[in-house]
């Protein structure tokens, strides 16, 4: 089946997105044809704007439209506290919690021996530069509880320890609403390890 050139170009463009195959791409392209012209223009503009106007914050590495980002500029936030995360999406997840008032540092990845990703390949040098600021008192390592996340946390903690800055790791254990009976032994032992007095 040969499509007219504009629609086949549109299908090809959708196929560049992750998880979109030819069938889904064709369905989306035909849906675009049914949309109002203004909506399509807004959609196209949003795509271009996101690409042109967003960059990484020169301080924390979070995605932003101004530099430094809103979080780094916010004077209400506790500048003595830095939470280190793997990805910009982790910042959004932590911000949804509305319980954390410190600042962030985005690594844009994690140390992964199996993929050959070492400390030189992630955003660690800028973190070390930030830590020269005497204002910083605590570093929270909020990398994922996976092999890569643990390796990254271990590396950073070893790197930072000589400077005397307090380094903490987020707790691991049972998810809220989870059932103890169905928890696996690794999670349970981590949960027991991190128990606290009531």
């Amino acid at each position: 089946m040969h499509y007219p050139e504009p629609i086949s170009k549109l299908i090809d463009s959708f196929m560049k997105l992750p998880g979109i195959g030819p069938k889904t791409a064709a369905r989306l392209a035909f849906f675009v044809l049914t949309m109002k012209e203004d909506t399509v223009l807004d959609f196209a503009k949003a795509l271009v704007d996101a690409k042109r106007n967003l960059s990484f914050c020169s301080v924390c590495g979070h995605i932003t439209d101004i530099d430094p980002c809103h979080i780094c500029q916010d004077q209400q936030r506790d500048a003595s506290l830095i939470c280190v995360v793997q990805d910009t999406k982790d910042v959004i997840a932590l911000e949804k919690m509305r319980d954390y008032n410190g600042r962030y540092h985005v690594l844009h990845g994690a140390i992964s021996p199996m993929d050959g990703i070492g400390p030189e390949d992630i955003n660690v040098p800028s973190l070390l530069k930030r830590l020269q600021n005497t204002e910083i008192e605590e570093l929270i390592l909020a990398t994922n509880p996976t092999i890569e996340g643990e390796a990254t946390a271990m590396y950073i903690s070893r790197l930072v320890k000589p400077s005397g800055i307090k380094t903490t790791r987020i707790a691991h254990g049972l998810p809220v609403g989870g059932d103890l009976e169905y928890a696996d032994e690794v999670t349970l032992s981590k949960a027991l390890e991190g128990r606290r007095e009531l």
Binding site: I111, P113, G116, I117, E120, I147, A151, D184
Partner: protein, 262 residues
């Protein structure tokens, strides 16, 4: 069809929003990939079972294409390996080597035992660098290399002085040194050590403490064989190289006793 296998998770890769493709090396089926649906979610019961290094029983629903991981039961999570960057790096190197050297789905129980014993030894705090060297030597036949280490490759002599020849892939006795100008001469203890690395099962080695130079020497020989004869370059090797450049951040979790020769 549901199949229960005893296996080790070699590697995982994210798939879609919350799924993972888990590559399991099992005693019964060899290397096989299976989809672990929802394994990236924190509440998933597949989350911990689908972590690399995990040794356990896996229940795989096998269809026409890739199977689906239904359940898992951990025998050993190899937790202590994950708790140290040094052991993680060497265990990753072993996993990647095994992964690269086997590409078919045929069962390889002997290879499975080598991998399981190696991971167990590392989690029992044996020297991970020495264990990775044992695995490298033992995996040479899997890579199609059969070094001659019990006699001279040229004349078959079992006595005399020996040297290692990369062109002959094995030992040469002093009478045959002239056939290869690039030999590495070996002391009797080095000859014995190379044979140990190649033949003695990992679970029978015991707590072997080797000098840094001895490990370096053994490593140089085996790595040269891999790079010249097998032609593989591992990503985890790049990480280990970085580790060696900044040793101050990668010292082992527990200090080993003062290094002693075997």
């Amino acid at each position: 069809m549901l199949q229960k296998v005893e296996g080790i998770v070699l590697r995982t890769s994210p798939y879609g929003e919350s799924n993972k493709i888990v590559t399991i090396f099992s005693r019964e089926l060899g290397k096989r990939a299976a989809m672990a649906r929802g394994a990236k979610k924190p509440t998933s019961r597949l989350a911990s079972i689908s972590q690399p290094f995990t040794y356990g029983y896996f229940l795989i629903q096998q269809g026409k294409g890739m199977g689906t991981l239904q359940q898992g039961e951990i025998i050993d999570s190899m937790r202590s390996i994950r708790e140290d960057i040094f052991t993680t790096a060497y265990a990753s190197f072993i996993m990647e080597l095994v992964d690269k050297l086997i590409d078919d789905e045929a069962p390889k129980p002997q290879l499975f035992d080598i991998l399981q014993q190696a991971l167990h030894a590392i989690s029992e705090e044996y020297d991970p660098e020495a264990i990775s060297l044992f695995v490298e030597w033992k995996l040479l036949p899997t890579a199609g290399i059969y070094p001659t280490l019990h006699q001279c490759t040229n004349c078959g002599a079992t006595d005399g002085e020996f040297a290692f020849s990369f062109s002959q892939i094995g030992f040469l006795c002093h009478r045959c040194f002239s056939i290869d100008p690039y030999i590495i001469r070996l002391s009797p203890s080095q000859v014995k050590l190379i044979r140990t690395f190649y033949t003695v099962p990992i679970d029978q080695v015991g707590k072997l403490t080797l000098k840094k130079e001895t490990k370096g020497f053994i490593k140089k020989i085996v790595r040269t064989i891999y790079s010249e004869q097998v032609g593989i370059r591992l990503k985890s090797q790049h990480f280990l190289d970085q580790m060696e450049k900044t040793p101050e951040f990668f010292t082992p979790k527990k200090e080993k006793p003062s290094p002693e020769e075997e």
